[in-house]
Amino acid sequence: MEILKNAFAGTMESSDAYVEIMPGDGNIEIQLESVVKEQFGKEIEEAIKDVLEENEVKSANIRVVDRGALECVIRARVETAILRGKGNE
């Protein structure tokens, strides 16, 4: 799936995550902000990559601001941003 436009999903509320996605230049760039980045940063990035892979996104810049969200919430917000960024909605 190709990211054709900037899109966002989620909120900055507690237990949620805010995700921005932009068209990339051929690879995946992930920028993660999280209060638990030191403890869980790797797991969160893996989850983000996993959702990008599931949706066959090979090129995108993605920024995730985690507000203490569970992994299933982060995955949902990333997927929503991808679907909104694919450009035909």
């Binding site: 999903a9 989620g10 509320e13 507690s14 237990s15 949620d16 969200a69 569970l70 992994e71 299933c72 919430v73 995955r75 949902a76 917000r77 997927e79 929503t80 679907l83 909104r84």
Partner: protein, 293 residues
């Protein structure tokens, strides 16, 4: 499955969804309809799907209120959520048997397409229009998938062009009509939420009224009301004791070859026995009352 209380949770609010199993309700209703703005329908659908896919919600039953069949969203809601086996789909604005069948047929189509077991998820039409109330029995008996009716008084009173009051005189007819229609069709029936979350006395009265009219349980929009609803819709210790006495009296009558028997001067007949059996079964599920029979 015992459903005394059903708690509405907004479908795009992670903080509420992830705590669904901690709020005390027998069932939660993940809401994709009124609680979600049109711009966030996609986000809520994915969030609810992920909550169902990845979260262990313990013994809390999950119901999903999808969008109504006159919107562009309802088929996407069913596509996304049916594989995760919600107990029921709550179908808003069901006004006719045909509305219920449209959803039922599409659920069957998705089950077949995805190789899912047929009929695992039931349908609970939300009756919230004057036409829906008038067609209640036809809706309740539309298909074996219809497991319960659900009264929605806010939209109904708007359709009736009357004011919604705490006393609820304006919805008396609808309440009675739905109970009769659902019971005639052999299914359950759930009462509308009491919407004043700060009126602690009002919720008691409203829940007692619903129980006395024959409702199976009651919905809530606030976790604050769940405990009261559970309490009102649970059998009391004296009701449980009486139910066991009824069953004992029936057992003795059979032993003695008697066709009819009285308890405290009142004839014990089939409806009283059926009620006693329901009471005991509910008491056992709740782990209350005596368990020696």
């Amino acid at each position: 499955m015992m459903r005394r209380s059903m708690l509405f949770l907004p479908g795009n609010n992670p903080n509420m969804l992830i705590n669904a199993s901690c709020l005390g309700a027998d069932a939660v209703i993940f809401d994709l309809e009124d609680a979600v703005s049109p711009a966030e329908k996609d986000a809520a659908r994915i969030l609810v799907r992920n909550t169902m896919r990845y979260m262990d919600l313990g013994g809390c039953e999950v119901i999903v209120r999808i969008n109504s069949v006159d919107t562009p969203y309802w088929k996407m809601d069913i596509d996304a959520l049916l594989p995760h086996k919600p107990a029921l789909i709550l179908l808003p604005k069901t006004a006719s048997k045909e509305d219920a069948l449209i959803a039922d047929n599409y659920m069957s189509e998705v089950e077949e397409r995805l190789g899912l077991e047929t009929g695992v998820t039931g349908l609970m039409p939300l009756i919230e229009t004057a036409a829906g109330v008038e067609n209640a029995y036809a809706i309740a008996s539309a298909s074996p998938r219809v497991k319960a009716l659900f009264l929605g008084a806010e939209d109904l009173t708007a359709d009736l062009q009357c004011k919604r009051t705490k006393e609820g005189r304006e919805i008396e007819y609808a309440r009675c009509r739905l109970v009769v229609a659902a019971r005639a069709a052999g299914i359950d029936v759930y009462d509308t939420p009491f919407t004043d979350v700060n009126d602690d006395e009002g919720i008691w009265e409203d829940a007692r009224l619903a129980k006395n009219l024959g409702f199976t349980g009651k919905a809530s929009i606030s976790p604050r009301h769940v405990e009261v609803i559970n309490s009102v819709f649970s059998p009391t210790v004296s009701e449980i004791d009486y139910a066991y006495e009824v069953m004992e009296a029936i057992r003795r009558a059979k032993e003695q070859g008697k066709g009819a028997i009285a308890l405290y001067g009142k004839m014990i007949d089939a409806p009283i026995v059926a009620r006693a059996e329901r009471t005991i079964s509910m008491a056992q599920a709740l782990g209350i009352g005596r368990g020696d029979n």
